[in-house]
């Protein structure tokens, strides 16, 4: 891939060379100058291209290679791994974990984003009112987003502990019965979703807030003159004008949430059973979760995840490009 890009400056001149030969003597020197500039430009870019090829493209290709062969730990040592085509993918589709993993991935992503976005939006509108301390408080909201995920995840695990967790303590003090957040199949997924929403709110808040800053205050003043109340102003002005930013926020959220691994792994390891197993967790479980790794099916699951992430990724780029025009 890099070759075609690097060769482009070289490849371009032949197409235009007849015109250069026929032109006045100034032209070739301009052309040479242009070519020298291109060479300089690419000399600056070369490290990053090499970097991408070695550390992105190659691992990804390796990953596809893993998925279409039958790799075992032995394979790494003696270098033999028979080509099996799509057998790993078929095995993954037929695996009893596939259904729950798909369902959990969709639920985890969908519910997380719905809450992160609506809470983030409400908070952005609230903090935009610029009351005393508003900017300080808004800055504090960034804390959950900046903490290492393992820190947040382990804190939530302890808060959600069945016997000694503070959440169950609050529930029982209000007369409810404690919930086995992390150890019961019907609550595990909800538990990790709650933690993930908490982590994602700051990101939504900050981006939507910056979107609000770009809406002209004149529109609100005009609406006020027309007697619009706060509710109407939000739904008739803020919400429609924030649609482009909202689309970007949600799509980025999708891409990020599909990737989420740390939180679930630390809180539940995808369990109990596979009650909170998503594709990212499943892939890791297969590849690194046991003493006998199944790299090939793990890579197959991983490739499925890439495809889903890229679909949303390209959607994001399309929306962004449309907005730029």
């Amino acid at each position: 891939m890099s070759n075609t890009i690097i060769e482009r400056p070289e490849a371009a001149p032949p197409a235009g060379s007849p015109a250069v030969d026929a032109g006045p003597p100034v032209r070739p020197s301009l052309k040479r100058r242009f070519r020298a500039d291109q060479l300089t430009a690419w000399a600056f870019i070369l490290p990053v291209v090499a970097y991408l090829v070695i550390f992105y493209a190659y691992p990804l290709i390796k990953n596809v290679d893993l998925a279409v062969r039958d790799y075992t730990v032995r394979s790494f040592i003696d270098g033999t791994a028979p080509f099996v085509g799509l057998a790993n993918f078929v095995a993954v589709f037929q695996d009893p974990t596939f259904g729950p993993a798909l369902r959990n991935t969709l639920l985890f992503t969908g519910v997380s984003i719905a809450f992160q976005f609506s809470i983030g939006m409400a908070l952005a509108v609230f903090f935009f009112q610029n009351f005393r301390l508003s900017s300080t408080l808004r800055a504090l909201f960034l804390v959950p987003w900046l903490l290492p995920l393992i820190v947040s995840a382990s804190t939530w695990s302890w808060m959600m502990n069945s016997d000694s967790g503070v959440i169950n303590s609050v529930i029982t003090s209000f007369g409810g019965t404690g919930i086995n957040w992390l150890t019961s199949p019907q609550w595990a997924l909800i538990a990790v979703i709650i933690a993930n929403i908490w982590i994602g709110i700051p990101f939504n808040l900050v981006i939507l807030y910056s979107g609000l800053q770009n809406i002209s205050t004149d529109i609100y003043e005009a609406a006020s003159l027309d007697g619009a109340n706060a509710w109407q102003k939000f739904w008739r002005i803020t919400f429609p004008l924030l649609k482009p930013v909202s689309a970007i926020t949600i799509l980025l959220g999708l891409v990020y949430t599909l990737k989420v691994f740390d939180i679930i792994w630390i809180m539940t390891k995808g369990g109990p059973g596979n009650a909170s197993t998503t594709f990212a967790i499943w892939s890791y479980q297969l590849g690194f979760g046991s003493t006998l790794p199944n790299f090939s099916p793990a890579a197959a699951v991983g490739n499925l995840l890439i495809v889903i992430a890229l679909i949303f990724g390209f959607l994001y780029l399309r929306v962004q490009r449309k907005q730029a025009q």
Binding site: F55, L142, L146, M159, S164, S173, S224, L258, Y284
Partner: protein, 297 residues
């Protein structure tokens, strides 16, 4: 906002008629309840952080009491003593890996961004596109590829390998942030340097980089934070050797002595220190980093 300020005074609506623009100037007692509400929201949001600190100070004997102690009245520093005794090497590795990632990220991404922003390379658009797509690839998958490669090369469980892997989180981001920033540097500045006889490289190091200080801070900050927080690469590529990171230190704690939440939370508090410092010292860079790339304007 500037539109409001430049409006002729007469065009302003009567006080009270506008609720959207008024709060900018009206910071009187009428907004007190909003401040109170804001404090409440922030308190709820930061409760887990408070709880982490609280548990890190709770003695082991009270750890399982019901109801849990809401305030650290009998504060103990046992957890922190354990951190100092057991986790210092992990913290050192994380610091080393974080700083290494910063250096590698800036060294690779700043020159490329300079070229993309100012030298109009052919194929630059394609490269930017690839960089955005690269950010979307799940880490777990990159880790799998790296594992296979590192196993063959025999560089598993080494800080250097982890630095390279961690930098993959930050390099695409770095190029995009630097490009956005450097595009804003006036061309006149570069032409002036050229007239003075500076080479392109010299222009980059002596003119462009110093002017781009802010974006260097933003990129370094995120590169460090991501490397410091990384768990996926640490647990896959670096879980065996002597140089393990603090995230793995916490993870081992959770796995091994499941009861000792006092020490686990103390480690978590210590592991949160860089994030806290950065938020206090460099808050505006953080906000800039979150929004950059997501919202174009």
């Amino acid at each position: 906002m500037s539109a409001t300020l430049t409006r002729p005074a007469g065009a302003r609506p009567a006080p009270g008629a506008s609720t959207a623009s008024a709060p900018k100037r009206n910071r009187g007692p009428r907004t007190m309840w909003k401040t109170a509400l804001g404090v409440l929201f922030t308190a709820i949001m930061l409760f887990p952080v408070y709880w982490m600190v609280n548990v890190s100070l709770t003695p082991a004997s009270e750890m399982r009491s019901t109801p849990p102690s809401w305030f650290p009245f009998h504060a103990t520093f046992d957890g922190y003593t354990q951190v100092i005794q057991q986790q210092l090497p992990y913290l050192g590795t994380s610091l080393l890996v974080g700083l290494g990632t910063v250096v590698l990220t800036v060294a690779v991404s700043a020159p490329a961004a300079f070229a993309l922003a100012k030298l109009r390379p052919r194929g630059g658009g394609a490269l930017s596109f690839i960089l955005i797509v690269a950010q979307m690839i799940p880490q777990v998958i990159i880790a799998m590829g790296f594992y296979a490669i590192y196993l063959n090369l025999g560089i598993l469980n080494q800080a250097g390998g982890l630095i390279i892997a961690d930098s993959t989180l930050a390099v695409p981001f770095g190029v995009l942030i630097f490009t956005a920033f450097m595009s804003g540097i006036p061309d006149e500045l570069m032409s002036a340097a050229k007239l003075d006889g500076a080479s392109t490289w010299r222009t980059f190091t002596s003119v462009v980089l110093p002017v781009s200080r802010n974006s260097v801070v933003t990129v370094s900050l995120f590169a460090f934070l991501w490397a410091w927080s990384d768990f996926v690469f640490s647990s896959t590529l670096n879980s065996g050797g002597t140089s393990q990171t603090i995230t793995l230190g916490i993870y081992r704690y959770i796995g091994n002595n499941n009861q000792d939440w006092n020490a686990i939370m103390a480690t978590a508090v210590v592991a949160s220190i860089p994030a806290t410092i950065l938020l206090v010292v460099a808050q505006r860079y953080v906000a800039a980093g979150v929004t950059a790339g997501a919202v174009k304007d």
